[in-house]
Chain length 232, copies 2
DNA sequence: GCAAATTAATGATTTATTCAAG
DNA sequence: CTTGAATAAATCATTAATTTGC
């Protein structure tokens, strides 16, 4: 694989033109992996900001890259484990060939090597999953946290759209910006966009940790991210 | 459902405390439905901004609300159709009872009433889907949307995090109590655990984050293996 | 050795599910 | 029981690895 010769610079999309997708540098990746190992799975908006800021030292990077990275890494790690555990079982219970190698009933529609599919505890080392008396397996109800639980919802994840002033590259020919949805005004490309909450920056503070799934402490109420004024 | 007296003011979450979830006003909903009918399904970031701005006239609303609305509406509209078409088939081909009502082979593991599941045209009234010569069914390549398509990629969707300088700290009762992700100084909170694969950065100190998924990260699960530094 | 042709990874989006407020 | 919100799973698409023919 990649030989990594030195480079501490050319790495990600930073060095290059900037177009196209983010290409993480080695440092960025190792930092992210380190955080992942420390337990971070679904970083809150604040965490993402911090991480992003930190990683920016190694090359161009945006919050969404961090977000996606965790999203993908978590999912792929999970599937890797799942498949590994399947292999494990396979090897254990039978011989090497795949389970159900011979269909018992050839004319019936079966899911191929079907494995719990969605959930139903199949991540041996993962959460035990709460097993209800009826045998039903319920997944961690989002609010019930592993810890005593302090905040009902750590809810981070506000999706995209908002991007206030996000510069997203988009160097792409953007001029025409979406046609007028509400052609009331002559057009002008609307300049409203003033949302901008203007935070004094005041430090990156709020490092909060993380949370999530099993997490715990995520305090983050609910705020809507970028939206200007949050309410309450 | 909600009775909504005419309000043009108290409507959504605007009037109320502001806390909790967005509660669209009648005007907002009809506008959204109208847009949906016009073909909008996954509005771009710009479109969301515009729509949001427009709907703001009827009450508090944020970009994410618009985003989620389209997400949910699209999904639910689709499932409604799907189930309708299933009913249609059912009624047509056989009698009324559900398909596969009697398992042909009781001892075999079958996917329950498995329906195309992922894709393969099953939304009769939706887009026709481009049918390639080979009979392969390609789904709307993400770029081609409802409209004639003007942009190769309107690249909207940047997820949350971005929020550049957003100051949400706000009134949250707790002033940042979240600990730093990248503590510069020893926090005292758990010092061991320095997994830190010695990547170049080293500086990051290991905050303790959490863990989650399995609940306890105390013991590193398992992936530990592959994750560290892969390759290279 | 090197560049076109393949294949493996993985960044970015979209769709499906789930949870819970009202 | 409807539906706003959030997360997970499935996909798509682009980049880096590898392989292959010369």
């Amino acid at each position: 694989m990649e030989e990594e010769t030195d480079n501490v610079e050319m790495g990600g999309s930073a060095g290059t033109s900037s177009n196209s997708r983010w290409n993480p540098t080695k440092e960025q990746i190792s930092t992210l992996e380190s955080l992942y190992m420390q337990g971070i799975r679904t970083p809150s908006a604040d965490q993402i900001q911090q991480i992003t800021a930190r990683l920016r030292a190694y090359g161009h990077i945006e919050g969404k890259n961090v977000f996606y990275w965790f999203q993908n890494h978590k999912a792929r790690q999970r599937q890797k484990q799942k498949q590994e555990s399947v292999a494990y079982f396979n090897h254990f219970l039978h011989r090497s060939p795949p389970i159900f190698s011979t269909p018992l009933c050839p004319n019936v529609i079966c899911a191929p090597y079907y494995m719990p599919q969605s959930e139903m505890g199949f991540y041996p080392h993962q959460h035990p999953k709460v097993l209800l008396s009826g045998g039903v397996c319920r997944r961690r109800s989002r609010t019930d946290d592993v810890m005593p639980s302090e905040k009902p919802k750590y809810c981070d994840v506000p999706p995209l759209y908002d991007q206030q002033g996000i510069p997203y590259d988009c160097m792409s020919n953007r001029n025409l910006e979406t046609l007028p949805l509400f052609p009331m005004h002559p057009t002008g490309i609307l300049e409203a966009k003033t949302i901008d909450q203007s935070s004094p920056l005041s430090s990156i503070a709020t490092p909060d940790i993380d949370e999530q799934e099993g997490g715990q402490l995520g305090e983050q109420p609910f705020f809507d991210f970028f939206s200007a004024q949050r309410s309450s």
